[in-house]
Every structure is written in structure tokens, then in C-alpha cells.
Amino acid sequence: MKYSIEDLIKQINFLADGAGDIAIMEVCGTHTASIRKFGIMSILPENIKMVSGPGCPVCVTSQEDISAAVAIADREGVIFTCFGDMMRVPCDSTSLYSLFEKGRDVRLVTSPMDAKKIAQENPEKQVVYFGIGFETTAPHTAALVEEADKEKIKNLSVLNSHKTMPSAIKHLLQADSKISALLCPGHVASIIGADAFSFVPDILHLPAAVAGFDAYEILAAILRILDMIHSNKTQCINMYPKAVTKNGNRKALELLYQVMEPDDALWRGLGNIPESGLKFREYYEEFDARYRFEIPKNKASDANGCVCAHILRGKKIPTQCIHFGKDCTPDNPVGPCMVSAEGSCAAYYRYRE
């Protein structure tokens, strides 16, 4: 490698000097976690701040979706499957995890395909997969449903809470001007392509860099952003060329849009955002858990006094919440930002100063 990590840090300092306050929003939860883990904040110049955006899928899942999940998982004859983090999100006074403690069959999976296997092994049970995440997990769910349809697996359905990234960022940043640049999510970009983020310079007039996930890759992207700010350019530069192409992964996108189509979606803290979600196309409707099960329409409320909504918008930091570190801890989360290791509150709590 031509440049060492120290070279990058040196040049970051050089470009940041005298540049005024710069707030870079990282929209991906794994970026949030990596930035904390590598202590990136501790070596950035004072005037460069990283702000966490809405990229933790657990944190943005609406209370309504979670109460639907709990309602389904609490039924006799159901095996409910989901990713690990999702289990501890509180919903009124319960959570998927407390249903598991009570003896309900809630299982954690590491791939949607695990749900298919479980369905095949338990033909007498209804197996439900909780589909969360952005373009990096939605094609997987599409593949699951497409295969289940082909193989005529009748006891499998999906509680679909998938979301798409670009429309949410657009919505969020149009309403908020405190952000100076965007660190774009590398893995989302590997599916949708770097060009999908060209709206950031074109419409939002902000510089953007697609970034990988190790300390070197993150610093390289931050450096590139500072360079654009320094030379007054607004572009979207792909700083993760190893994994990201201009147009993304066509095959994954084709499969995704064969099974699903854009729809409005409810984001925790951000409300309803047009065209930012995905729903099953009519042909695949029977695999929709909302279609298969009757889900009581109880109006679940966002947790009391939890300011996740403002945190997701980059308007508050976790320590400004009255619950933070007192009655809201990773052991006893009050709000979703404390649940996932990627959530801003959990990250602040784990690595708090």
C-alpha cells in the first residue's frame, strides 16, 4: 500500500485545518459501530464530527411492526424467526425475547434461508420470518419467497418491514441542513450501485463518498470528503471500488423487484416516507404474514420520552435523553436505539467517555 493509515490521518488534519465545523453523517449502522470500535472519533480533528443517521434497521423499525411481530410470535403453532438484535426491542411491556423466556418458539436466524429450513422441518407449524433491513437484506427475503413459492412451501410467511435507503436520506436531509457531507453505506451500494447516491450532490448539493468498513477505508472516505469540501466540489465518489460498481448488483435487484415493489413505509422517528419501503407484489401476497394472520390493530405508542426520533435525525445526541444510562441501558432498553449494538444510544453507552 502506497499510503499508510498515518498518512491519511496527517492529510485529514491538513485539510481540516481552518475548514470550520464539518458534520459528516454516516447512514449505515455498521459504519456507526466500526467508527466506535476503531476509535475514529478520537483521532479526528476537533472540528470534524460524525453524526449517526437512520441506518440501523432495528432502530428504524416502527413500533407498529414490532407489535405485529409480538402478536404473531405469541400465537400457538407459530415459530417466529428473526435476526438477533430484533429480539430485545421493547414493545409496551414485552419483547420477542421475553416471549422466548416465557417459552414461545422464537428463534434467531443468521440468514432468511434458515427460516425455509425450519419450515421444511416443521410442516405442522407456521413459520414466520421477520424481514428487516435495507437493500442489503431485501433481495435475500425476495429469494426466500421466490423459492418458497416454487417449492410450494405453504407454512412459511414473511413479516415484511424492509426499507430502502436513498428515499429516506433524501427526505431526511431535505428537512435538515446541518449536515455537510454524507458517508454512504458500502454494502447497500454494492447492491444498488454507487450511482444510486448521485442524488446527494445533484439534489442535496452535498459531497458524498461510498465507504468500506475497516478503519483504513473509513478514513480514506473521510479524507476524500474533506478534499471535496476543500476544493468546493460536490460529487459522489466511490471509495469502496473493491466491492461497489456504478450500477450495483443487477441480478439481486432484478430478483428483488420481481418479488416486491416500492411502497410507503413507516420509520420510527421519521414517520411515513413515500416510496421508502417494499411490499410484496400481488402474486406473492400469500407469503405476507399480515395477509396470513389477523393482527390486532392496537396502537402501540413510541416509548415514553425516548428521543430516538431526534437522534435519528442527527438533532440530538443520546446523552441529551433523560433516560440515557439511567433507566435505559442495553439490559433494559427503553427505546430501540439502545437495543442494537449499532444503535446510537447503545454505541454511546458501550464506549461512553
Partner: protein
């Protein structure tokens, strides 16, 4: 305090500590219990060490071990890190009706084998059977252990000092990851092996050298290396961890990144952590390496003046705080 017991109360993090401090300690308080060390050091004739632990691990069998070998190793290791020489253990079992006899004998064999390896004798026991609650693998084991202090042996004070070096005796996270991979059926090939083992010989190798001063010694079980360091750090010290120096087996490291878990927070049962003055750090390392369980021992950090922070420092000079783990460890996938 919560009004109900939750699984998190058993996970060794903040909730567990709360339970001990608010329920057990006030009720049982006495001079032997209160230091809350791995074993109590008792008097009355010769000095002895005593400890007890219960095992409720699911699955009962995992690559590299089972609930029986664990029940022996865990108790033996608690004695060993207190500086004692493990001698006797008791085995109490609670069995659920319906448990297959062959499962039971497999576990009993494993208990016997591990006790032999550890050089301890099983001197008393108890068995109760409870009604079946719907599982076919209901067995819970409690072991208590007694250890003695051979003449002239240094007893770790369990108190760290500025300038000390932190030493790890081997790969971190292997045991916890092996159990998790099996329990959650994560499909790793080849399966990840637990390194759980009785470590009395390993600690003896260190303690039998009269020139060694051991300020603290622990087996970093639940909560992993992070929890032990957070317990050690005092109000006027910092522990600085050299981030990339903590040895993690390549397969375990890969599994951790696939699941989004930090190896520092994962349970161990085959390694110990030591805190020793710089002057004898090299010699302690040599002693550890003379034992088969200490082959990969290395220095991973140091104690500095500070204010109760555990910090991991990266090669390029950034750092992050390491906090007492909290919440159940669940694989994070996205």
C-alpha cells in the same frame, strides 16, 4: 431492581452484579464472602479455598466439551486462580424425569475424566429428580470445590497496581463461541472447538516460582476478558489494552466478525488473565508457556495512573472505551 428474574440476570453482566449486590450480599454478608472473589479463602487450621458454581448450559454437548467437563473445569479454575491447589469437589445434580440414561452416563464419564485430568477427587454428591417440563435434555449440575495452599505459595491479592502488565494465557473467546455456534446451529465447518479445560497445572506453573509476584489472577468466564478488566480497574488506575494483541484463534475471529460480536466480550473457560509487575512479566510468560494450556500466552496491556477507564488502543493511536458488558449476547447480523 427488576421485579422478575430474567435470563439477563444469569449472563454475568451488570444485571448479575445487581442481583448479587442487592439480594445475596445483604442477606449473607460475612468477611469471607464479601470480597466476592472466585473462591473464598477460609481459615480454621490450615488456610483453604472454597467455591461453588452451577451449570445450566444448553446444549449439553458441544464440540470440545459438555456440561460435565465444564462443571469440573469451571470449579477447578475458580480455585486455581485464587492461588489454591484444587483438591476435592462435590457434584450435585438435578435431573428432569425423561433424561436418557445414556446421556447421563456420558456426562458422568466426562466428569470423571475431567476430574482425573484436573487431579481432583469427587468426594460427595447429591441427585434430585424433578418433573419433566417438556425437554428431553434436562440436567443441571452444581459443583463445589475445595483447594489448599501449599506452603510458600504466593496468593494473588486481586489488586492491580500502576505499572503492572496484563497477561493472557491463550486464545480468547474460543469456548463461548463454540457453545454459541452449537446452540444456535450456526453451521460452521469444521465446528468451532471449545478450549474448556481445568487449569490447575497452568496456575501452579506460575505460582510455584517463588520470585513471581501475582497481583491479580482470574478466569475470564461470562462477560469475557472485558468484564474481568472492568472489575480489576480501580478509581485511580486505567487499564490500557493493546487492541490487536489479544490472541484470537483465526476460526473464532472469523466467526465473531460474521456474527458482529467482539471477542473481548465472549466467555472463556480455558484461559486465565494475570496482572503482574513489569519486573516479572517475562518470567511469568515463560512459566505459562511451559504448560500446554499456556502456549499462546502474551502480554496484552498495562496498568497506568488514571480514573477507572479500560481503554483499547489501536496501532494507529486511536482508542475506544471498554465498558462492563450488559445484556445477553445475541448474534448481530444487520
Amino acid at each position: 431492581m427488576d421485579d422478575k428474574i430474567m435470563l439477563a440476570h444469569g449472563s454475568g453482566g451488570e444485571k448479575y452484579r445487581e442481583l448479587v449486590k442487592e439480594i445475596f450480599l445483604p442477606a449473607y454478608s460475612n468477611e469471607f464472602l464479601n470480597p466476592l472473589n472466585d473462591s473464598a479463602i477460609l481459615t480454621g487450621g490450615e488456610k483453604i479455598a472454597m467455591t461453588t458454581d452451577s451449570y445450566v448450559v444448553k446444549p449439553l454437548f458441544f464440540p470440545g466439551g459438555d456440561i460435565g467437563s465444564l462443571a469440573v473445569s469451571g470449579t477447578v479454575n475458580d480455585l486455581a486462580v485464587s492461588g489454591a491447589y484444587p483438591k476435592y469437589i462435590s457434584v450435585g445434580m438435578i435431573l428432569e424425569a425423561g433424561l436418557s440414561m445414556s446421556t447421563l452416563s456420558k456426562i458422568v464419564d466426562s466428569i470423571a475424566r475431567t476430574a482425573k485430568e484436573a487431579g481432583v477427587q469427587i468426594v460427595t454428591g447429591d441427585t434430585k429428580v424433578i418433573e419433566n417440563r417438556g425437554s428431553s435434555d434436562g440436567i443441571f449440575i452444581n459443583t463445589a470445590g475445595i483447594g489448599i495452599f501449599p506452603k510458600g505459595r504466593a496468593v494473588p491479592q486481586q489488586k492491580i497496581e500502576v505499572g503492572d502488565r496484563i497477561i493472557i494465557s491463550g486464545y480468547a473467546a474460543s469456548h463461548g463461541m463454540a457453545v454459541m455456534a452449537k446452540r444456535e446451529d450456526l453451521g460452521f465447518l469444521p465446528p468451532i472447538l471449545s478450549d474448556a479445560a481445568p487449569l490447575g497445572d497452568l496456575t501452579a506453573a506460575v505460582l510455584n516460582n517463588k520470585n513471581h509476584i501475582i497481583n491479580a489472577m482470574r478466569d475470564p468466564t461470562r462477560g469475557g476478558v472485558a468484564a474481568t478488566l472492568c472489575e480489576w480497574v480501580t478509581t485511580d488506575t486505567d487499564i490500557i489494552l493493546y487492541d490487536n494483541s489479544v490472541p484470537v484463534r483465526p476460526d473464532v475471529s472469523a466467526a465473531c466478525s460474521l456474527l458482529g460480536l467482539d471477542p473481548l466480550f465472549i466467555a472463556n473457560e480455558g484461559i486465565i488473565l494475570l496482572c503482574v509487575p513489569e519486573s516479572c512479566a517475562e518470567s511469568v510468560l515463560t512459566s505459562l508457556k511451559s504448560n500446554k494450556h499456556g502456549e499462546y500466552a502474551r502480554i496484552i496491556g498495562e496498568v497506568r495512573k488514571g480514573n477507572a477507564a479500560v481503554k483499547a488502543v489501536t496501532e494507529f493511536g486511536s482508542y475506544r472505551r471498554i465498558m462492563m458488558p450488559s445484556g445477553e449476547l445475541l448474534p448481530r447480523i444487520c
